[in-house]
Subunit: 230 residues, 2 copies
DNA sequence: ATAAAACGGTAACCATAGTTACCAAAAACG
DNA sequence: CGTTTTTGGTAACTATGGTTACCGTTTTAT
């Protein structure tokens, strides 16, 4: 029944250490629902009760947060094998503050939260493993938010950009790389406006600290960048 | 051996649903360490490996984050029965980005993370309950960080203050209340400077929207405040 | 009780980034 | 292909909030 997705699911952190056979059993026991969405369709709107734990099977979803002023702040982008809703799935009486939207046409599997925690007879060992995995996943998620807080707490735009570029440098191990976000998205992520971002990046180029064209960026003066990130 | 602390510990969310007798057993099995700290003493410095899960037995600790520029951003204040380190306790090879400092003289219990997850024979039922509690706790923590992100994402100082005041109003159910943070701390929390905070609060008073003297605040125009928080 | 330290308000000046609007380049679509 | 849509750079003007410094008040320590 779920054979089609076993391969993707085995890459999901929730099923870490569970082999295909056991995974089949677990799925059969969890009775997950699978839905498909078109690009830009809502998967979950803010305030709506999430149908449990979500796992992206194909395509991509954007997890974002809309504040009262209507500005959308991107939290993460999830692709195949990645999860969302892990923050609220185990908390009763908490409506999710996040919104989930299909960034591309996608298929999503929903796991009922209650079944994830309670062991059943046929595959209790796997269930226990799942719980341990879940604990790590949620901890990890908290840490991601923690880093998000770090970004938002940076006061100057220049320092935000510098920090972001240094992180890309560290990630790719290269001084030339492609930006993983478009200008608009980066501006959202750093919580500034796009023209301000463009202006500041222009200045960094003028000063010979970086060079860029569209999404490709080259760091020319790593030390200056480090100083400015503080 | 841990009798002295049973009462406090039973208020800790980690031991929710575990009665005193079982708690004694669990503690005996977990073999926690108890340390005392003086006011302003470091409990855990940034980057240091946390000794596991921390539970405040008496006094208060401040969990904060120091960014590269040296600005301290308060994450939470934990009192008796409250925990810290729950974010990193279950993640190997992750150094904690947070710092923990004694806000007042305090006593702290540390639980080895590994023992929390793995069942032992004598009190397996209680251990299982602990794991479920832990899952809820970490989820809750993630949600708190999520709210923190919401605050930081607010762009104008006026809206930040309005949001904060509205939250106090909601919390106390009263239009007159005591601020739980000093000006410096509030400025830290909202990620702005103290003079700017004072200036803006002064303006709000001038406009007849609020009234305040030191830490006591009275909301005079709730609707305006709501509009400004957006 | 008194000195010292911490806290909080204020004001002038300045730097940073938001706003708006316009245009060019690139990508998507038929 | 050519057209439409999306994306991104730029510039003038404005608003917001940071900086610094000073001073009175409140709290803490001795």
């Amino acid at each position: 029944m779920y054979q089609k997705w076993i391969k993707v699911l085995s890459t999901c952190a929730l099923f870490n250490g569970i082999n295909s056979d056991n995974l089949q059993g677990v799925l059969h026991c969890l009775k997950p629902k699978v839905n498909s969405y078109e690009k830009n369709e809502w998967v979950t709107a803010a305030g709506e009760k999430i149908a449990g734990l979500g796992i992206v099977l194909s395509g991509e979803v954007v997890v974002a947060q809309e504040n009262a002023a209507g500005n959308r702040v991107i939290i993460t982008v999830d692709g195949p094998g990645e999860m969302f809703g892990e923050m609220t799935a185990f908390l009763e009486s908490v409506e999710s503050p996040a919104t989930v939207m299909a960034r591309a046409a996608c298929t999503v599997m929903f796991l009922p939260a209650g079944k994830v925690v309670s062991c059943c007879e046929n595959s209790c060992a796997s269930h226990k493993l799942m719980i341990t995995n879940m604990l790590k996943i949620v901890s990890e998620k908290a840490l991601v938010l923690h880093r998000k807080v770090e970004y938002l707490a940076i006061k100057s735009l220049r320092a935000k950009i510098s920090t972001f570029l240094l992180e890309q440098h560290k990630r790719t191990g290269n001084t030339t790389f492609m930006m993983p976000l478009k200008r608009n998205e980066l501006a959202d992520f750093l919580n500034v406006t796009r023209p301000s971002l463009s202006r500041e990046m222009g200045k960094l180029m003028e000063e010979g600290i970086i060079e860029f064209h569209m999404s490709s960026v080259k760091i020319k003066d790593l030390d200056s960048l480090r100083t400015m990130a503080e």
